[in-house]
Symmetry: D2
Subunit: 338 residues, 4 copies
């Protein structure tokens, strides 16, 4: 069986991680092309991974007949148009989350994908490929906690005192679309895809005053009621002192599962003058490095064996829909009905 | 120094616990009277604790000149009138929470107390006397976590399959007034008594359908925004499979404290075919038994040494105000502005 | 029923703790006398606890007809003679551990006690009264872990950089008799009092060079084989950086219990620049404060109701016998057969 | 650079894991040959991994000029002769632990290796490649816990009620050589390779009576004193009810590190009728799957880039020497001086 020939689009920090995995660890994948407007990113791909086909222009990459599939690791605002262009060029598409920050664009991508039923499209909701989340999802589906009725999920980043992220805030979609979208997707997945009915959110700027200009916050809390009466609570923070944590609690009539509590970086516990302590992963990447690899392997296998990806474009649209509603609630200080 | 002569009012489950502590463990306290409409409760007080003065009628107890102080452990709906009557009779008053389920009653009690400045009145927000919560409060006040801006607090009871509590639901004030009022008080205390601005809540009946008649739920989540932009999230549940937990997380700009995570019943860890595990306190009482004693000692000392209690009637009013607003939000499915 | 009239002997740090409990918290106890060669200790007893009968001389205290019982909290080397004298004077005796550091003395005390069968004598192996150890013991007795065959137990003190304890080392009996005797007693209790067959120990001076003069160490490890093939391992340390821990692991054919892992001082968890952490009890006293009270209540009840104490003098002798053998093994670098 | 051409010898359970990694995940490795006396093992290698060169006879494999390196995953008793033969055939050798169960054989292998200085030889002490152990080792070397003076390390397997392992016991070298050798190596590594001076061990048969015939036990405890006065304690068990744990505690003058406490299988915590609990890895393999891969990558890189392996044959000899002494101590019930 021929390998899936892949072009990576965007070779920044996350793009390099995807590229390295695709080049060396994903069975059945061949990283044959890279696209970036930045020359040194292309040089890195060539020198480090031996990528032969280098493109400054995305259209040029899509015109390359020797590419089966693109991996989009580009700025969020480019995602919808790039996905649509790839589909029109007959390429399978993996795209980092979020699908978009505008609901109409999500729907437009879905509509385009329908026209290319033979092409695989998947948005990178990486937690669906984490071994612990998968274990929880299977346990719940098998009835381990009875009927699940509440998900409480949080994504909290270690504070970057430099506030580097502030400059990306205006195009990030806001804290709920940028960060909580993962938690929203987990809530939908773990509760069996209920339909959201109403949401409410609150937020505050705890540290990064620079966010005030674009209406964003560095700590936000939110609640969502689904049509069947089930509920979800979210918390997103960019200002934690101790590290990154991704934690999800699923409460059912017969028990509770918690995924990711305390997010230890490894199996070392320290006892010293500071007490008994453990260190936490500094960023989401250390927490989900394995899941990224599993995600890539899953998608490449979907292309190789003509299988449907584990999550659909519609899932991405729905998570985005809820994320946007939360941002509206935050901006307008009101309950938003969906 | 003469002991504080105390009459216990209500000698049910919680009343007996207060009575036993007052009779045997609280320095400076003398349990001299008991009041209950139920004969066997009085007999218990006489036979077990040697209480001499037994009253079926509350007015009769208040008329007793040999009593300095009453401890009210009576049904919630009686609290306001009983406190006011005790004050008028010149007695110090300790009353179990909540102060009332009606805001006007809270204010009426406050107004009456003002007329009796020499009498001590305190509502039993027991967590303020828990060693761990006190440690957290002092750490926060000392700046250990920078500026605290978010409290997330939950009170979750082990499910009682008999649903015994359902019959008390109509007079309980609802899940937020009955259970979350403790979390609300903790949020106010730990954040330095900010003023609530708006709240929103959601709830569901996960198990106990009998609650539907009175509009209550067995699981509720809520959010509160304070006037200074700080925030609180609450979760109350009556349906946990594994035990009672009271957990409060306080997040600040330089760190986070969590009080009560996992609520272990003791220091035994078990490793067997079920995994590595610990057992949790079955009810709030095992979790807070020490705090109840410390609370009683604190109040008796306030009476003995003419000190102000650690929490004021106004604190109780404010917690109740937020609890009632959360109930309104739940019933009317809307944001409630305060 | 008349209260048990108690004389406290030794009013230093631990003596004061016993005295305060006996004076204010132990039902049925009356602290009526105190004995100490140090004037200010007696003044403290009089001024703080209202003790009326003050004695500089132990014989004088024993001559006091109004005392039913003595609590000995005196230097270890005095224990055997003081117990025997008290028995001869017709007093019940509670004595802090250890019984003695010389086996012949243990046996002499046992022999004397036999002559006064109506008097209660108990050595303060406080862990037998700790709620968690009791829970473990009951679980094991009920078969929760099948047949228990190995106990691993450790007592580790926080380092005192001043090395204050070094000056007491020559009369302490050495680290195994002074510290591990508690672990030895736990092993015997939890395994159902098997007879020790052979022991071996090792030790090192990690920090306190001053111990070298008396042949003691500040860290020691030991193993004990019982006649029925069961085993115990011990670890004692005086040099921990983070706090005091008392931890006991009991391994059976169907499971394992661990008592006291991590020894948290309270229910507060901290997440900050040092990681996610908890603080540990600084000394054994915070860990066992409740157990001391329960121990005192137990012994006073034994006197009041003419019951046998939960542990016998023979238990104390056996723990001491093993502790002495471990010291011999350390000094002579050989296996000691018992 | 040409890949390292590897022949796998032994294609049983562990052999397949090594083979799969070498075939698909180790950069610079080419799995070109397999050797096994069992036909279906060779078929598996051919069919699953596409291995072309299949040998029933080890000598035949060694004669293959297209192989640079062998990976020995064979019965323990074959290791020494197979290593020596491979060296004589000019092959680099990776061999699963233990090096041997006979000290003279260890020394013979060392002597042979000296004659082939250009060939790499490494025994698979996999824990040296575990990220958590490496982190601990680096922290200790950097002074994080002051001077380390005590290691306590345990390897405890989940009980296999079928007692399958009993039939391998006679050729396993006994519990200390077979299991504790890993802990011994960790103690040496983490303490900076001190020389062992004396050891003592105890053991019991808790469950598997079939071991009695060969003098082995299913639970053993041991102590080791090093020439510089530092110490190590070991515990090995084959009868745990809840899963496999590998735990190592390193105690220093300024702190303590613990690696692997509780050995969780993933990041899911369960709260249900059994309490709050986590599941543990069922076998060592789940615990060390990543370390096996890192170990293989390390060794292949040593071959590719002509580097010295992270652990020497001498390290393996020393660990074996201590393990054998522990077995002697167990059999002869005495302290063994080294």
């Amino acid at each position: 069986m021929n390998p899936v020939r892949i072009g990576i689009v965007g070779v920044g920090r996350m793009g390099r991680r995807h590229a390295e995995n695709l080049a060396t660890r994903v069975p059945g994948a061949a990283l044959v092309a890279a696209c970036s407007p930045i020359g040194e990113e292309l040089e890195w791909a060539r020198d480090t991974l031996g990528v032969q086909s280098l493109h400054k222009d995305y259209a040029e990459l899509l015109a390359n007949k020797d590419i089966d599939c693109v991996f989009l690791v580009t700025p969020n605002t480019l995602h919808p148009a790039q996905i649509i262009a790839a589909l029109k060029a007959g390429k399978h598409v993996f795209c980092e989350k979020p699908l978009s920050m505008v609901l109409e664009e999500c729907l437009a991508v879905e509509a385009e994908a329908v026209k290319h039923a033979h092409l695989k499209v998947m948005i990178g909701f990486v937690r669906r490929f984490d071994a612990s989340y998968q274990d929880a999802q299977k346990s719940i589906a098998a009835g381990a906690i009875g009927r699940p009725f509440l998900v409480r999920s949080e994504t909290t980043d270690q504070n970057d005192p430099s506030g580097f992220f502030v400059k990306f805030a205006p195009t990030s979609g806001g804290i709920f679309v940028d960060m909580s979208v993962h938690d929203i997707d987990m809530a939908r997945w773990l509760l069996g895809s209920p339909k959201a009915k109403r949401v409410f959110s609150l937020g505050t700027i705890a540290v990064h005053e620079g966010l005030r200009g674009c209406g964003d916050v560095d700590n936000g809390v939110a609640m969502c009621e689904f049509a069947d009466g089930r509920m979800a609570c979210f918390y997103a923070s960019r200002t934690m002192a101790h590290g990154h944590e991704t934690q999800t609690e699923i409460i059912g009539t017969d028990g509770r599962l918690i995924v990711g509590r305390e997010g230890r970086i490894n199996q070392v516990q320290i006892s010293d003058a500071h007490g008994i302590r453990t260190l936490t992963t500094p960023t989401f990447y250390e927490r989900f490095a394995d899941a990224f690899l599993r995600e890539e392997m899953h998608f490449v296998d979907c292309v190789r064996y003509d299988r449907s990806p584990a999550l659909s474009l519609h899932d991405a649209t729905e998570a985005t829909r809820i994320g946007i509603a939360l941002r509206t609630s935050l901006m307008e200080r009101r309950v938003v009905e969906l």
